[in-house]
């Protein structure tokens, strides 16, 4: 299957790619398209609507439009203590994904009135779930929940994830978590799967299986880890998340009031484009990320956090 995919589209487009009249930007775009078609043939990438925009132009550009939806993304905490920050990032992405599916539904309903009719009927039949809202599964190891706490409904609700959509799954072993993730990723009724694993090494075959499952189900998979890992993997992207102080101006005295959370986000693997590091602010009310300015990052990291500098 793989050689077939390589030969047929490649030979056809390779000649065209070297036409002298073509501007280079268009050429790169076309090469990218070709790469995409090859990837699709391997089953690792699925066509599942629009990518999920994070809402920051710089990051979305690096991702080639946004996070691929039928794919697996690894979100690792910088250190174990920073795992709430990684959780926050994963949940923010999940909240955006849930909102995107809602928006998509509205458009659908607007275009085709019959769809709304059907939707209402099934909402009555299914009781609680409105159509189009796909479930969120949070699959975690027992130990991880002990160490880092269990998902807390009221907090999740405020962060933009309706607890009604959430199903929590716990398992005693990491391999059970991976099994449950594969099952959930294959399910078309699931929108986002968050898998939380403490094990240090996940073998490459497992990551590939999960990626294939995500592509098959068109599901967004987020693998949440307590420490970064640089083993080879089949993930679409790999992120390392740390916490960042919400404001760096008044460091001398304690402030009253806490601003929106800030996260130090590092994109360390990306199949689509270049890598990068940003400090982003998550607004849970508007459910969007904003970029905190770069100058602040530099000053802050050098002066105020000597212990972090030492670790880095």
């Amino acid at each position: 299957m793989l050689p077939m995919a390589f030969t047929t589209p490649c030979t056809a487009t390779a000649r065209a790619a070297f036409l002298p009249t073509e501007p280079s930007a268009a050429r790169i775009e076309r090469l990218r398209q070709k790469l995409f078609s090859v990837e699709r043939a391997t089953g690792l990438t699925a066509e599942c609507g629009l990518p999920l925009e994070l809402g920051i132009a710089a990051i979305d550009a690096a991702l080639g439009g946004g996070l691929g939806c039928g794919a697996l993304h690894e979100i690792a905490a910088e250190r174990e203590t920073q795992s709430p920050a990684a959780t926050g990032f994963a949940l923010a992405v999940t909240a955006r994904a849930a909102r995107k599916s809602l928006r998509f539904l509205d458009r659908e309903a607007f275009c085709r009135p019959f769809c709304r009719l059907g939707g209402n009927a099934s909402a009555h039949a299914g009781g609680r779930n409105s159509p189009g809202r796909r479930a969120v599964l949070w699959i975690a190891e027992d130990l991880s929940l002990c160490e880092n706490g269990a998902p807390y409904g009221p907090g999740l609700d405020a962060a933009g994830i309706a607890p009604e959509e959430l199903i929590t799954v716990t398992a005693t072993r990491a391999r059970d978590v991976l099994w449950a993730m594969e099952e959930a990723l294959r399910c078309r009724a699931v929108g986002v799967v968050i898998g939380e694993i403490r094990a240090r090494g996940i073998n490459a075959v497992a990551t590939r299986r999960l990626s294939l499952a995500a592509a098959a189900g068109g599901t967004l998979g987020l693998l949440l880890r307590t420490a970064p890992d640089d083993a080879p993997c089949a993930f679409a992207t790999r992120w390392i998340i740390g916490a960042a102080p919400s404001s760096l101006l008044a460091t001398a005295e304690r402030r009253h009031g806490i601003g929106p959370p800030r996260l130090a986000v590092r994109l360390v693997r990306n199949r689509r484009g270049h890598l990068g590091a940003w400090i982003v602010e998550w607004s849970s009310v508007e459910q969007r990320f904003e970029l905190a300015t770069h100058s602040e990052l530099m000053a802050g990291a050098a002066i105020d956090r000597p212990h972090r500098a030492a670790v880095a």
């Binding site: 059907g118 909402a123 159509p131 009221p154 907090g155 959930a184 102080p245 402030r255």
Partner: protein, 523 residues
């Protein structure tokens, strides 16, 4: 539906006459122990009496009720074993479980008998006589000496089994069966039998034509009730040890099966048969049980739950695939299973399949996923969060099995109304199962927010604070009635956000020193 009308009821009474000694002999045979005349003794008052004897001991003239010392004096080579009623009861339960292969209505008769309601089941085994012979042959093959009889009432079957009556008594033949049997066959207490004997009444036939009123006046109503029940004049229901499933399908194998694929294929075939019955009554399965009868008498039971009424054989098979995978080696096929039974333990009305509504299909697919995960990992491990009406943070949310909450009202709309009404301050994303104590906490004023604290061996210097939010204990409840808590959101220098609280107030320091705990984390 199982009718208990006495005219159509057929009862098989099985008596395991040497249950205790057979059990011990079996254990010893496995361990290659000595096989001597064996007796079992138990304390009655201050005396050790024989309560069970094996065939060899009986031939030597030993009987139940003889003192152990006397028996030892008569036969010094005797092996005497203390009574173990719990082990006997376990064995009897296991045997009763095994008898489920004949009928689902089984009751263990106290101490050493089993009652089977075989109404409408006998033709499956080629008639009542064949059923009884098959049962006895198998039980004897396990190493138990047993007797059995079939009649239309529990009392008559019991009397025939214990007192050598006819093997099969046709309906209406109770009177002829019972008349020559001794009065003890009526399941009467010893005192009553002895009192009747003093009057010269020895056999049941002697009672049949006596006037009832004086008998009841003298011996109580139990005597007449037992007599009426044995004769079928009064209805005596059989109380099954296990609830009877509303839908049952089973298959027996001439050649035992042991491979997992064979078991699963059988499940699918049985499920296809159940589907017909379920569809006919508009039901679906919410809880299923697969019973596998091993050739050596052990019964393996595997249950699987569903989140919505289910009929589809392939989906039922998929559930048992996960259950078998989860159980692994626990399902030991031994020499194979010779009977498989699939029962719907809980059935619920199931609306006919909807076609073409996208939302409904999604929901069905999600339910199937939940079922698979629950089957493999355990029912309670796949959960939905339910909002509870409590202001104590750890009690405000409860996780319930997702299988039982499919389509249920989870209470979050009420929570959202409550939050906007009272202007609830932010809650953490993750909550620790139990609040963890914080050490070396420094606060500028006693009731004020923390400046610095140590948690999990790391120092955190607080740079921003929100709070306090006071949550008082519920005075009306023992469980929730702890000291008042002051919650703070804090951010440390690294940007980590914690939700921590002080339990107790400094004005109450005489009663208890306030302590600090970390309860949750935020991004």
């Amino acid at each position: 539906v199982w009718s208990s009308v006495s005219s159509s009821q057929r009862i098989l009474s099985l008596w395991l006459e040497r249950l205790s000694t057979d059990r011990i002999a079996q254990q010893w045979r496995d361990a290659k122990g000595p096989s001597q005349p064996l007796v079992v003794f138990g304390k009655r008052g201050t005396l050790d009496l024989l309560v069970a004897v094996d065939a060899a001991a009986e031939r030597l003239g030993l009987r139940n009720g003889i003192a152990l010392a006397q028996a030892r004096a008569m036969h010094p080579a005797l092996t005497a074993v203390p009574q173990d009623q719990a082990a006997d009861a376990r064995l009897l339960d296991a045997l009763a479980d095994w008898c489920q292969r004949y009928t689902p209505l089984i009751a263990a008769d106290p101490s050493d008998g089993i009652l089977l309601d075989i109404s409408g089941c006998a033709h499956l085994f080629g008639g009542e006589q064949k059923l009884r012979d098959d049962l006895l042959a198998r039980v004897r093959c396990f190493g138990f000496s047993a007797r059995a009889a079939i009649a239309s009432t529990i009392g008559a079957a019991w009397a025939a089994a214990y007192f050598d009556g006819a093997a099969v008594t046709p309906a209406g033949g109770e009177r002829t069966l019972l008349a020559p049997l001794p009065l003890a066959a009526l399941r009467l207490p010893h005192e009553t039998v002895a009192a009747l004997a003093r009057l010269g009444l020895q056999r049941i036939g002697d009672l049949l034509d006596l006037p009832r009123a004086p008998l009841a006046a003298r011996f109580g109503t139990d005597l007449l009730r037992n007599l009426d029940r044995a004769l079928g004049r009064e209805d005596e229901p059989l109380t099954p040890g296990r609830p009877v499933a509303p839908y049952i399908a089973e298959k027996s194998f001439p050649e035992p099966i042991a491979r997992e694929e064979d078991v699963l294929a059988t499940v699918e075939r049985l499920a296809a048969r159940l589907k017909l019955a379920l569809t006919a009554r508009g039901d679906g399965a919410r809880s299923l049980e697969l019973a596998l009868f091993r050739t050596d008498g052990a019964v393996k039971r595997i249950t699987a739950g569903t989140s919505r009424p289910l009929r589809d054989p392939a989906a039922i098979r998929a559930l048992f695939v996960e259950r078998l995978a989860a159980l692994g080696d626990e399902i030991d096929p031994g020499f194979g299973f010779d009977l498989a039974r699939l029962s719907v333990v809980v059935a619920e009305p199931c609306p006919d399949e909807q076609i073409g509504l996208a939302g409904g299909e999604d929901q069905a697919e999600l339910d199937r996923l939940v079922d698979r995960l629950s089957a493999r990992l355990g029912r309670t491990r796949v959960a939905r969060l339910i909002a509870q009406d409590s202001h104590i943070p750890e009690l405000a949310v409860h996780a319930l099995p997702a299988q039982s909450t499919a389509g249920a009202e989870l209470g979050w709309d009420a929570f959202r109304r409550f939050r906007t009404d009272v202007g609830l301050s932010p809650r953490p994303l993750r909550l620790l199962a139990t609040p963890e104590p914080i050490h070396d906490l420094l606060a500028l004023v006693p009731d004020g927010p923390p400046v610095r604290f140590r948690w999990r061996r790391a120092w955190h210097e607080v740079i921003a604070v929100e709070g306090p939010e006071r949550i008082a204990g519920a005075w009306w409840s023992e469980e929730e009635g702890g000291p008042a808590r002051d919650y703070f959101q804090v951010e440390d220098r690294a940007g980590l956000r914690f939700w921590l609280f002080r339990a107790g107030l400094y004005r109450d320091i005489a009663r208890a020193t306030p302590r600090w705990f970390l309860h949750g984390m935020n991004a």
